[in-house]
């Protein structure tokens, strides 16, 4: 048994193994976990990791999507198809329902977004189903507040994150003990970068929604970003709708996710583009993070992912 012939794990396989370990810890230590699946690239990776962690058995948790009602139709179509392929259960928590029930008030005007509202829908759904752990696809490289977050991110019974008082996380020993009403957000791909995610999707041959690839669609320009136009979009004076060849680096609400000019039509081309980019994904595409220096931190404290 020569040492030299022993297989060695690539960095991607090492990250994969770490993430599978995290998922199994959660399944074992929590009563009612849930996996948040948005149809975006990071949660697509989570689903594959869950297959690797739990097959040939069904997942020991349901999937949940917080649907703002303003999602890209291509993503919703993909979401439903992927869930059907897996044969797992999907819960859809609807922001529209939260509005209809009077839990939240819809913003108005051309800059209206449902981004803030989805935190309420998420917290309501966690309470309604009694979830005590929720997997999310957030990564620490995404944003500077996230760089400080734990893999097991403790939330009090208001869903709040207290960044100044986090549990220390040692070795791979996660502390999953909570009291009733509290919950833990779990981020198995905390240590992955955007490039890792794309390389993994490529190496696993995973399908992603078509909007991640270059395509032509009607857009309008606002604050230097290219937003998708859809029926009912309110424009500000001077803005006009035109066709452009874009792709999306992140999949969020249509109202706050900008496209990037791109000719990448295959996974390989996307990997090359991401490897060469000089702008972070959130800086390039997310209006929700541009509000202030600490926009993400503030939303996280309120219960957002």
């Amino acid at each position: 048994m020569a040492v030299a012939t022993r297989p060695q794990l690539s960095h991607l396989r090492a990250l994969e193994s770490e993430a599978i370990h995290v998922m199994r810890e959660v399944a074992a230590e929590f009563e009612r976990p849930v996996l948040l699946f948005s149809g975006g690239k990071d949660s697509i990776v989570l689903l594959r990791l869950a297959e690797k962690a739990f097959r040939p058995a069904p997942f020991p948790f349901p999937l949940m999507h917080v649907d703002t009602g303003h999602n890209f139709p291509e993503v919703i179509e993909f979401r439903d198809r992927r869930v059907a392929e897996l044969g797992e259960r999907l819960i859809v928590a609807s922001v529209q329902e939260s509005i209809d029930k009077g839990r939240v008030v819809e913003e108005t005007g051309p800059r209206a977004s449902r981004n803030q509202l989805q935190t309420v829908t998420l917290l309501d759904a966690i309470a309604e189903h009694g979830f005590d752990a929720a997997f999310g696809g957030a990564r620490r490289d995404e944003e500077r507040a996230r760089a400080k977050e734990r893999v097991f991110s403790f939330r009090d019974d208001f869903g709040q994150w207290d960044p100044k008082n986090q549990r220390p996380e040692l070795w791979n020993l996660y502390n999953g003990r909570i009291k009733k009403g509290e919950n833990v957000r779990v981020f198995p791909i905390s240590n992955w970068t955007e490039l890792d995610v794309w390389e993994y999707i490529d190496s696993e041959g995973l399908e992603v929604p078509s909007i991640y690839f270059s395509h032509e669609r009607p857009v309008f320009k606002r604050d230097g970003m290219l937003y998708a136009w859809r029926e009912g979009t309110e424009l500000i004076e001077g803005e006009e709708v035109f066709n452009e060849t874009v792709r999306y680096r992140t999949v969020g609400d249509m109202s706050c996710t900008g496209g990037v000019l791109s000719k990448a039509t295959t996974l390989e081309e996307v990997v090359v583009e991401i490897a060469a980019t000089r702008i972070t994904e959130r800086g390039e595409t997310r209006a929700d993070d541009r509000v202030s220096e600490a926009a993400m931190e503030d939303r996280k404290k309120a219960g957002y992912f």
């Binding site: 770490e18 199994r24 070795w171």
Partner: protein, 447 residues
């Protein structure tokens, strides 16, 4: 062996240049994105006037940190060069320093210890070196920073190297393990000398720049293929039992949920992550603490069966005989079995305002096992200045590190931390608050 993923930790106080060093590393290796740079440039100008570029601001994540110019908690940063990927555990050096350093060091392959060339070897640097050595980091890189403020003097550098080396001589005695390999280098993070590019101001130094060393350093510790195999069972996969039955000891399969993709309803796999060593199909194994023996029938992964698996792979083992195995049990080879005991002697790093005292009860988590633990006694506390263990001790206060004797409600299968970082470590959890209050490194079965 070189790894293509290197985890390293840095620690330091507010003004010893740690944030500047990391900022410099990210900036000079072109890992800073344009929008991040715009943020930093704007914030620098607001604080220090036009044209200023304070690289330290790159690493401040939270509002309070930017407002107060402090770092609150361990932050994780990612960068890559064509040779390697890096994960930095960036630990602040104030107040909760031991807690933060221990957390950062627990997953690191290498530690960068900063020494301010003017101020010399401080308690902070010593503490960081001690914690790094105690936690089994095999390589310490001592970066003597701010060389620009001591006129790039070789004499000053040599003096600090000698001082640090004489302190480090005491490390093996107090940690009980082989001393880490220590490399010294003179740098100026502010000017960028010997960080990414070699310096032209210090011709007397002919070693590599910091990034070069990070790219080349050999760190095999946490990937010990030639160590005894250790496989803690995390989860039992039983498609026939449905989601709620999985993970529990066998109690007769129900068929509430059909198996997927025509999976065998009698399938029973033990899922976990190989903590060390390698396993092959057909190997004879023992299951601890019970001691039952069987052979490995198959090594399953989602991507197919394997003949052989090595740490740190996550896998699912199928065994030839039906043993009643549940979460927390340890699969290993019978001829190189782990120690099984209920009484432990361990070094504990204490992280709570409420001191650890004899009689204290905690929840202990080791590998995938939870147990209750009672503190029998505190043997000693380490004095970080002198590296002496002071005896006797009554308690461990916040940020203390000392030798403790514990008893657990159930037997644990473990190795000494000095021979296995994964099976030799545990955390202590406060039963009332659920806070993680201690980090433990097992020395041996208590006599």
């Amino acid at each position: 062996m070189t790894l293509d993923l290197l985890r390293f930790t840095t620690a330091g106080a507010v003004d010893d240049g740690k944030s500047t060093l990391i900022g410099r590393l990210l900036y000079d290796s072109k890992q800073v994105f344009e929008d991040q740079l715009e943020h930093v440039a704007a914030a620098s100008e607001r604080r220090s006037g036009a044209g200023a570029l304070d690289l330290a601001l790159l690493t401040d994540g939270l509002r309070a940190e930017r407002e107060q110019g402090i770092t609150i908690d361990v932050a994780y940063r990612y960068f890559a060069t064509p040779k390697r990927r890096f994960i930095i555990a960036d630990c602040p050096g104030h107040q909760q320093y031991t807690r933060n350093m221990v957390t950062g060091a627990s997953t690191a392959d290498l530690a960068v210890v900063l020494v301010d060339a003017r101020r010399g070897v401080t308690e902070q640097s010593k503490r960081h070196a001690f914690i790094s050595a105690l936690l089994g980091i095999p390589h310490i890189l001592v970066a003597i920073n701010k060389m620009d403020l001591v006129e790039h003097s070789q004499e000053r550098f040599d003096e600090l190297v000698a001082e640090f080396a004489s302190f480090a001589d005491g490390l093996d005695a107090v940690t009980g393990r082989r001393p880490p390999e220590i490399t010294f280098m003179p740098i100026s993070a502010l000017e960028g000398h010997n960080v990414v590019e070699r310096s032209t101001n210090m011709p007397w130094y002919d070693g590599p720049a910091l990034l070069e060393l990070l790219e080349q350093v050999d760190v095999a510790y946490d990937h010990p293929f030639d160590r005894p195999a250790r496989f803690p069972v995390q989860w039992v996969i039983r498609p026939g039992a449905g989601a709620n039955g999985a993970g529990l000891p066998s109690s007769g399969a129900s068929s509430a949920v059909p198996a997927r993709g025509g999976a065998d309803p009698d399938y029973r796999g033990y899922a976990g992550q190989l903590a060390s060593g390698g396993l092959r199909r057909g190997d004879e194994v023992a299951v601890l603490p019970g001691g039952g023996r069987t052979r490995i029938a198959a090594i399953d992964t989602y991507d197919g069966e394997l003949e052989e698996a090595v740490a740190p792979m996550s896998l699912t083992l199928r065994l030839e005989d039906e043993l009643d195995i549940s979460r927390g049990e340890l699969i290993c080879r019978p001829e190189e079995a782990a120690t099984v005991a209920r009484e432990l002697a361990a070094d504990v790093c204490w992280m709570s305002d409420r001191p650890l005292r004899p009689g204290g009860r905690y929840v202990l988590k080791q590998t995938a096992r939870l147990a209750s633990a009672i503190v029998d006694r505190v043997e000693d506390v380490v004095d970080v200045h002198t590296l002496q263990r002071t005896q006797p001790a009554q308690e461990l206060a916040l940020n203390d590190i000392g030798r403790v004797h514990l008893r657990t409600s159930a037997p644990l299968a473990f190795d000494p931390y000095t021979s296995n970082r994964r099976t030799g470590s545990f955390i202590l959890i406060d039963q009332d608050t659920n806070e993680t209050v201690g980090a433990g490194l097992i020395a041996a079965e208590a006599a």
